[in-house]
């Protein structure tokens, strides 16, 4: 085609761009004429679900996003939170679900690359990463291939870039068979007064393109991420983006070096819908127009059209507005790091987004409207029906020792060592707690005692049974994990993974999960400062489990006083804090029922947020005062699994009393919320003054080489460890699951 921009705009073409007829009408009304082909591409990129949050915006606005510690909430590349001493932590989480299903290695790798870029775009050096993964059933034919590719891709990018991976989650369930989840989190450290934003300022200033060259990678990718999967997925393959962690590492160093010179006015990384999104955002935020000259864009393929350049998702690229007098200095820095540097446009005062290619104006659009006037939907939703309560007969009684061994050896509770040993957990020399802990903990460079804690959590089974309680629980568990390490939880990011929002039941899950998240964040002073929404996670009409991942950051003032999971010594008291007199009561949606009997039944556990906070504040106090020698929150698998993990981590056994409860199964495997196990020197329990409404029960002692759960047969720590460590490697070796 001699002039690709002259392609006639047909209803089919509009539909192929994922735009509904009424959305197209909105475009016509906005610009008063038919869009060019390039303009149609630009609109589709800006107005798809992924970029415009058109289905979710209304609800996202209800989340608490502020607090005295918050420097920057949602709306920038990442959230920024004050950690004292003039320092700030910058963090965000983002999904790369669809690309990772199509090409697991590159999909996951570029997901990590994207989130790292979000963080260093703001002037922060990345200091920690996490990854939250959901795969299909272990026996599904694609699962092993996807696990190995995704994990290798995350490692391949993060390790080479040089950021320690300090935590994450891996879970298997058939509901992710055709739609896996890859949510990547990154956090960086910056000076609180040297944060960089995307808002352009000043007219006639150079818009500079930095980083790697533009190819046809991922053209149409953002549109794909907002479409349901179907059997034609194979045809959508050529859009795969390949990550180049080496270029990204160079880009990091070059950006930080450049930022230190004071040359940067505004900066925006090119993520989904690359040049389009970044340029529009910089202009719209600054109430400025942007003029781009595509002939100046560094390309690595011949014959690229304006459309392709505007929609390319080639990785490792940035757009900046620079102080003109610093241009030469800036260029020298980028050349030193072997990166492309090109002035591709300028800021204008006409509030238009004008794009030129080969002497032709291929787009001329109102910049504010492009960003702000995206359609917004109040999609119909129905209130989720709560799951029926469990009947006594629903809960098979078994020997607790046997059940514990089986749980530790199950796909969802076994050790993830196979995964995280492929990640560099130690690089930068500041890792105080690596995966396997309550939370990953990283020392803050340049500070004697300060450290940051990171955790990511969600229980999709709870969310499926009760999106509202599940949303609350995800926040509470994250907050609890941070607390159990001794950290004061500061703020959180979210990654909301759901099915097709056009279905009222799915929209209902979304709405109620957000209500739960918002309520928990408010009650726990744990604002959401950044996040990402991934909808349309469906294959052939089957949605994933609702999976609103929460990633949290906490502050440890003195890391010599943080808590670890492992028992510290023999002969110490084991205390159960925050539990009812029966220790545990709630088995609905428990790992016990699910992993041992295949029963995903019953209601999700309820989170009493006032109780959660009281108990957590008490436990954190004990840790900070040095009274506690080890601490662990109780989550999937209940008390028994928590005790086993503490034993396995230390090699020290434990003797737990027989619970005075009607059912030892509920006591040991119940998943009541707001509970912790801690250890302390003998005699501590008697002296502890717990506040009103916080229960402390002495339930046993550490010591020996076995774990004894009440009257059940003791199990050697060695056997527990063997059970815990063996499932993942043998699964990946192809042995029967």
């Amino acid at each position: 085609m001699s002039n690709p921009n002259a392609i006639p705009i047909t209803p089919e073409l509009v539909a192929a761009h994922g735009l509904k007829p009424d959305e197209y009408q909105r475009i016509l009304d906005l610009i008063g004429r038919e869009p060019t082909f390039t303009e149609l591409g630009i609109f589709s990129a800006m107005w798809n679900e992924h970029c415009s949050y058109k289905s979710s915006k209304k609800w996202l606005r209800t989340l608490p996003t502020s607090g005295p510690q918050v420097i920057q909430g949602p709306g920038e590349n990442a959230g920024v939170v004050d950690i004292g001493d003039g320092q700030a932590v910058v963090f965000k989480m983002e999904s790369h679900n669809h690309p990772s299903y199509i090409e697991p290695y590159q999909g996951a790798a570029t997901g990590v690359g994207g989130i790292l870029r979000d963080v260093f775009t703001m002037g922060a050096r990345p200091i920690a990463a996490m990854n939250v993964l959901r795969f299909g059933a272990p026996d599904h034919p694609k699962t092993r291939h996807l696990v190995s590719g995704v994990v290798a891709g995350i490692g391949g990018y993060g390790n080479s870039f040089g950021v320690p991976t300090v935590g994450g989650e891996v879970q298997f369930d058939e509901r992710y068979n055709g739609n896996i989840l890859v949510n990547a989190f990154a956090a960086g450290l910056a000076d609180a007064d040297r944060i960089f934003y995307s808002k352009a300022e000043g007219v006639g200033l150079p818009v500079v393109y930095l980083g790697a060259k533009t190819g046809r990678d991922g053209v149409g990718g953002a549109t794909m991420a907002s479409a349901e999967f179907d059997e034609t997925i194979e045809e959508k393959r050529p859009t795969v983006q390949v990550g180049d962690p080496f270029t990204e590492k160079c880009l990091l160093e070059a950006c930080l070096e450049l930022m230190a010179t004071g040359a940067v006015i505004a900066i925006q990384d090119m993520g989904a819908a690359g040049l389009t999104c970044s340029a529009v955002e910089m202009g719209a935020k600054g109430d400025l127009g942007i003029r781009l000259d595509l002939d100046k864009v560094p390309v690595r393929e011949e014959g690229m059209t304006a459309y392709e350049m505007m929609l390319s998702e080639s990785q490792e690229r940035m757009l900046m507005v620079l102080r003109p007098e610093k241009e030469a200095e800036a260029e020298a820095i980028f050349r030193k790091w072997g990166l492309d540097f090109a002035i591709v446009g300028e800021t204008t005062d006409d509030l238009r987004f004008r794009v030129f290619h080969k002497g032709e104006e291929v787009a001329n659009l109102p910049i504010k409207e492009l960003g702000d006037q995206a359609p917004e939907y109040d999609r119909p939703w129905v209130e989720p029906k709560p799951a029926a309560p469990l009947a006594d007969a629903d809960v098979p009684q078994t020997d607790p020792a046997e059940a514990l061994l089986k749980l530790l050896n199950s796909p969802n509770l076994s050790s993830r060592r196979w995964v995280w040993e492929q990640y560099d957990t130690l690089i930068q020399g500041n890792s105080l707690q690596i995966p396997g802990a309550n939370a990953g903990v990283v020392r803050v460079e340049g500070q004697e005692k300060k450290a940051l804690a990171f955790s990511s959590d969600v229980n999709p089974f709870y969310c499926e049974a009760d999106p509202y309680e599940g949303g609350k629980q995800a926040v509470a568990e994250c907050w609890r994990n941070l607390t159990a390490s001794g950290a004061l939880p500061l703020a959180a990011t979210d990654n909301l993974n759901f099915g097709n929002p056009e279905k009222p039941e799915i929209m209902g899950q979304f709405v109620f999960a957000i209500k739960g998240i918002g309520e928990a964040c408010r009650a726990l002073d744990f604002p959401i400062v950044s996040g990402n929404v991934s909808l349309y996670n469906e294959t052939l009409g089957t949605a994933i489990l609702p999976t609103p991942t929460i990633g949290g950051v906490g502050l440890i003032r003195d890391w010599s006083r943080m808590a670890r999971v492992r028992f510290a010594a023999e002969g110490e008291e084991i205390l159960l804090i925050g539990a009812p007199a029966e220790w545990g009561t709630h088995l609905g949606q428990s790992a016990y029922l699910r992993e041992l009997f295949g029963k995903k039944i019953g209601p999700a556990p309820k989170v009493d947020l006032a109780h959660e906070r009281r108990v957590g504040d008490f436990v954190r106090g004990l840790i900070q005062e040095g009274i506690v020698t080890a601490a662990h929150d109780i989550s999937d698998g209940g008390l028994a699994v928590a005790i086993a993990e503490m034993a396995i981590a230390s090699g020290i056994g434990a003797t737990i009393e027989e619970p005075a409860a009607p059912s030892p199964i509920a006591a040991f495997f119940g998943e009541d919320q707001g509970r912790y196990v801690v250890t302390a020197l003998k005699g501590t329990a008697a002296k502890l003054a717990a506040p009103e409404g916080v229960s402390v029960q002495l339930i046993g002692v550490t010591g020996g080489t076995a774990v004894r759960l009440g009257n059940a047969e003791p199990v050697s720590v060695e056997a527990l460890k063997q059970a815990h460590e063996s499932w993942f490697p043998s699964f990946m070796d192809g042995k029967p699951a």
Partner: protein
């Protein structure tokens, strides 16, 4: 003692190494960018870990051909102490300053974990702070640490005591021949090793077993 740390694009444990040298010697090392053709007058040159040039082509291959490496080779020939850790080891091999080659880990997977090292030769400039046969803890983090040398070379370096560290107690993480974790040149002034002693030098790291190496070369009594 003055030390220098070589910096090349893609290296990423340079900051760890600079921090370790600074903490142990009390003095920050000078850093030298890849395009330098001359090195300052130092007693110790360290090439840190990472993924220089993305480890594209072969690990360390492109880095080994950068101008600064000619300067390193000159200094090495004059007897200056040189240490390459991880990617630094790979670079020294590609530069021909050490014998053998590093292949993909036998598992084919990147591996980051703590291993045990046996000090196979305590009578070197790098290990005098350790005892012969001492077992120390040390983390590894690499994808291509599978040491290989042909039979003849192997016989020679084993015979000469050039094998400085071995993976101990069944902890070989990568399939290295003879459990080799670190080798030096015949002259005894250039060491390459895969493990990361710089990540185990203070209580925050959970141990200080890695200090011995730095104390040895920096002439600091343990």
């Amino acid at each position: 003692m003055k030390s220098a740390v070589i910096q090349l694009p893609g290296l990423n444990r340079d900051r760890d190494m600079i921090a370790a040298l600074t903490k142990i010697s009390g003095k920050a090392p000078v850093t030298v960018w890849q395009t330098e053709t001359e090195l300052p007058d130092v007693d110790l040159i360290v090439i840190p870990g990472g993924f220089s040039y993305g480890d594209y082509l072969r690990c360390g291959a492109i880095a080994a051909r950068m101008p600064v490496m000619r300067a390193v080779a000159d200094k090495a020939a004059k007897g200056v102490t040189v240490i390459g850790v991880c990617n630094g080891f790979q670079i020294l091999l590609e530069a021909g300053l050490l014998p053998g080659a590093l292949m993909r880990n036998a598992s084919l997977k990147f591996v980051c974990r703590e291993v045990k090292l046996e000090v196979a030769n305590a009578n070197t400039a790098f290990t005098r702070a350790y005892a012969q046969g001492q077992i120390i803890r040390c983390p590894v983090a690499h994808h291509d640490g599978n040491y290989f040398a042909d039979a003849e070379t192997l016989k020679r370096i084993e015979g000469n005591g050039q094998v400085v560290f071995r993976y101990a107690e069944g902890t070989n993480p990568n399939g290295s021949i003879n459990d080799i974790a670190g080798v030096m040149n015949e002259a005894g002034n250039v060491l390459g090793m895969m493990p990361h002693p710089e990540n185990l030098i203070e209580s925050a790291h959970g141990g200080t077993d890695g200090r011995g190496l730095f104390e040895s070369v920096l002439g600091i009594a343990a």
